[in-house]
Point group: C2
Chain length 179, copies 2
DNA sequence: TGCTCCATGTAACACGTTACATGATTGC
DNA sequence: GCAATCATGTAACGTGTTACATGGAGCA
């Protein structure tokens, strides 16, 4: 399972609460790994049981249940072991493309509005990634190996969003043409 | 659920057996929707029960159980209804990128070999898509709306594979650099 | 007081994966 | 005769989604 290993990696970068992890998965990690908060809490529970991670009550918890998780040596070892395994090629599941194919067969079905909505969503993500890029990878900062890897990963997300926008615009033009 | 609607679309293009559908999902549809044969058979069973599709023994079945599925009016109506719903933005789950991020934190872990393996796999897909493009969308063929939509979808797959190769090569260069 | 966000969780269910199994056909 | 491919299926399990639920904190 990769969710646990994505969480281990995130926790090695910065010990966090489940809620923080969920937000990071929504924002910066989300474009190459998605997870809901329910998945994350379930997985944190399992990992704590397996002694891959440990939790303490957060200093700023107050009367809340907020807990901070940190990676234990066993978790770090497990991550190293897992990295050595082969990765399956990513498989995609794009509902919008399924709808476009359906439109090609039984359409036109007015998918232009939906394409425009997706363009806006991609623009949002693009802007967010560009802000992260400016914040985390300023050009004057010393270039460590770690930074270069993470920067290239982020740049892939940026290229992905840019391309998604261009492609949707091309598709809009095709949908508008005569039969 | 989108698998059923992806299957309906495929069956509208061409009535087929479950096995044929599984192969199409592996080859041409696979880059935007993946499904195993077990998922497909299960889903075909459900759809037949719901009277979205019907099956007859294949003319070339011989002594095998081969059956050909066709879309019924109810299935076509359901597909039209579903296309009108909003599509969630595709979410990605890329294990290789998770491993690269882990490598950035606790590495180097020798992921170069794995990147090169992925480059070869992407090259295979790229070549397959280009062959499909030449076969299904020759430049002299009359350009219907349906063809233009399907061509643009395929071109996205081609661009995706090309970009994946370039990106992996950039990542290889980063991994080889000094800390 | 009520709204939004922070923070965590349970339960039920749907979907996806993996292992295993069967038998026919095709080509060497 | 053997292997690969065609063709379909069952069963068990793991993952992912959805609905529901609780309560504190901050702000208007």
């Amino acid at each position: 399972m990769s969710l646990s290993h994505a969480l281990l990696t995130s926790l090695l970068e910065k010990s966090s609460s489940g809620y923080d992890l969920a937000r990071r998965f929504d924002k910066s990690i989300g474009y190459f790994w998605h997870a809901t908060h329910q998945q994350i809490y379930r997985e944190l529970g399992r990992m704590e049981e397996a002694l891959w991670i440990a939790s303490v009550t957060a200093p700023d918890a107050g009367k809340t249940r907020k807990r901070i998780y940190s990676v234990l040596p066993l978790g770090r070892a497990e991550l190293g072991r897992w990295v050595g395994e082969a990765s399956p090629v990513m498989d995609l599941r794009d509902e919008l493309t399924v709808r476009l194919r359906a439109d090609a067969v039984i359409g036109p079905l007015g998918l232009g509005v939906e394409l425009e909505r997706h363009i806006l969503l991609h623009r949002d993500s693009l802007q967010r990634y560009r802000e992260i890029e400016q914040r985390d990878f300023p050009p004057d900062r010393p270039q460590t190996r770690r930074l270069r890897i993470n920067h290239l990963i982020l740049q892939r997300g940026i290229a992905y969003e840019e391309h998604s926008i261009l492609w949707a615009q091309q598709m809009l033009a095709v949908l508008d043409e005569e039969g």
